[in-house]
Amino acid sequence: MTETEGMNAKQKLAYYLDKSYADANAAHSKGELVCWSSSIAPAEFCVTMGIHMLYPENHAAAVGAKHGAIEILELAERKGYTMDNCSYSRINLAYMDLLVEEKKTGKTPEALQKLDELKVPRMPLPDIIITCNNICNTLLKWYENIAVSLNIPYIIIDTPYVHDWPIPQHTIDYMKEQFKYAIKQIEDLTGKPFDYEKFVKVQEQTQRSVAAWDRAMGMAAIVPSPLSGFDMFNFMALIVCARSQFAAEDTFNTLADELQVKADAGQDAFKGGERTRIAWEGIAVWPYLSHTYKALKNLGMNMVGSTYPGAWSIHYEVGDLGQMAAGYCKMYSNTCLDNKVNVISDVLINTNCTGILYHLNRSCKLMSFLNVETAEILKEKTGIPYASFDGDQTDPRNFSEAQYDTRVEALSEVMEQMKAEKAKA
């Protein structure tokens, strides 16, 4: 019997998320090692060696979703970080400073107390950090800042940008060498030889988790859809933080089973209100998750397509470091525009979406920069209409509800008109 027996997927999600923070805090108290990691860095090395993993991006998203971002962002700005820096990084760097202050003074700073009151989970300070620039290059300096401030080891997995397919051998070789160096860094820190047998088991677990995630997320495409895209955003927290653990496999298999039952019964997550299906391109606006969802729902727009959850579908052959390198490097924001267009195109086809909403995210220059061109190419290729809105993943000051609503309504009107014309034809 497992500790989650009898729980539904949502309960498991909450249980495992709480547990990941609780375990890391407990480990930290006992002097065990804690690692802060970027969201799509290979977790397999640290997990193999029993290092507890925490994810600043996940944590910052929670700060945003629980409406605790503004005060923390202002603290970061007082340190000199401008609003043009990524809001995840600003939240995390200010949070790190609060933890350091608490450690030095023995007193919990007021801003940290407020986050505790908002039930934002606590992260202990890290003993090591790992980042992989397959999703963003801001990470390199953000994490360097942490490493220097805390004087801790810093593992960097530098992923060359993928312009051509298949991924060139020199890219794979370069990454494999970095994997080997990461292993050495972990051996130096832990004082133990790397456990290659366990590593294979961790890789196997990762692949089972990813398979369960793919299975659950694939359900969104079913008509009527038993899964709303906004639920994808909620469940995503676990594929980020527990990809190499049983927790993810357990939760997503339960979710997939539940969704299958709903699909077999023809149940619709949208409760019969679906008028159109829409894809969402970009990170969620965490402080306004509810508003962004409701504005679409009120117009009967069911968000069932997103490339974002697919970012964690990292497949590779177990035991092959080269395959693992390729898996982490072909993360789609690390690939050329043509590939990005193909990935979104596939999402649109698979999910029967007839419109796309692009989040021009002030925090994420990479995604926003690509979105403008991607939108034009996709419109040309598919004829599917789109709208863009200005926002931010966690800085609530960079989003306007009224502006979002107008753009979404106008897009809905265009989609409805096209639908009516198609029906007429």
């Binding site: 021009l360 200005d390 107008t406 309504e409 106008a410 265009v414």
Partner: protein
């Protein structure tokens, strides 16, 4: 049969009443918008101009603009993108690109030959390039906003004014004033700044002729000239440009009424 379109913008409220033949029976504009007495006053005024029509005589009412949900008597709310497109296409059927600059937003809309919206872009979350930007500048220059076009027509050159940020632009204008640069040239620069923002959006639509301007700012001939100069193409100003959104809303109300 009569129908009514109400456009409650951020800076003004506009109402149009149409009759059974889509003729404009009456229209009104009041220079205060959502959250103010503007919508009520605009309604009062529009009915005053008719032969005793009342709101109850309206078969359908459609509201648009930022305050579209605040008017309870509306049968339907439609976005200003669709309403401006509908209103302008009705007035200028050759319109394929619309540039609309209102109180707090600027938009560019591409229409197909049937008047359907095939693409639209709106300004980002910044006052630069909007009517609000012109309000701020008129205040700094101590002139009436309605006089800006005339000043612009007397300009001997166009000075550079930032289009990135209203605060940056304000500082630049103050600096130009303290350097004794003529107001005419500064105003031409302000209009060029608004034009560059709006044209940035318009270029993204593909810029097909005819290019038609709507929205309150289209009443400023200086901005229209600056846009035409920037695009290197003629720009048509829709008749009564400030009411094109309300007209579109009224036309949607007309379609709704005819459906039933």
């Amino acid at each position: 049969m009569y129908v009514l379109g109400l456009d409650v913008g951020s800076a003004s409220s506009k109402v149009v009443i149409l009759d059974d033949d889509k003729n404009i029976v009456s229209f009104s504009t009041v220079q205060v918008g959502t959250g103010s007495t503007g919508p009520a006053r605009a309604l009062e005024e529009v009915f005053k101009k008719t032969n005793g029509l009342k709101i109850e005589d309206m078969t359908k009412i459609v509201a648009t603009g930022y305050g579209r949900y605040a008017f309870e008597k509306a049968d339907k709310q439609i976005s200003e993108i669709s309403c401006h497109a509908k209103g302008i296409f009705h007035l200028v059927p050759t319109a394929r690109t619309i540039i609309d600059i209102g109180g707090q937003d600027a938009k560019a809309i591409r229409l197909d030959s049937r008047g359907a919206v095939s693409q639209f872009f709106m300004n980002d979350k910044c006052a630069a390039g909007t009517g609000r930007f012109l309000d701020v500048m008129a205040r700094v220059l101590e002139i009436e906003i309605t006089d800006m076009a005339e000043y612009d027509s007397r300009a001997s050159e166009v000075v550079n004014v930032s289009s990135t940020c209203t605060v940056f632009a304000e500082s630049e204008v103050i600096s130009h004033l303290s350097n004794n640069i003529p107001k005419e040239n500064i105003i031409a620069g302000i209009h060029a700044s608004v034009a560059s923002k709006a044209c940035g959006l318009a270029y993204r639509t593909g810029l097909e002729d005819d290019i038609v301007m709507g929205g309150g700012v289209a009443q400023n001939a200086g901005v229209v000239r600056a846009i035409s100069r920037e695009l290197r193409r003629p720009v048509i100003v829709a008749p009564n440009p400030q009411i094109t959104g309300a007209l579109g809303a009224a036309l949607f109300a007309y379609d709704e009424a005819k459906k039933h």
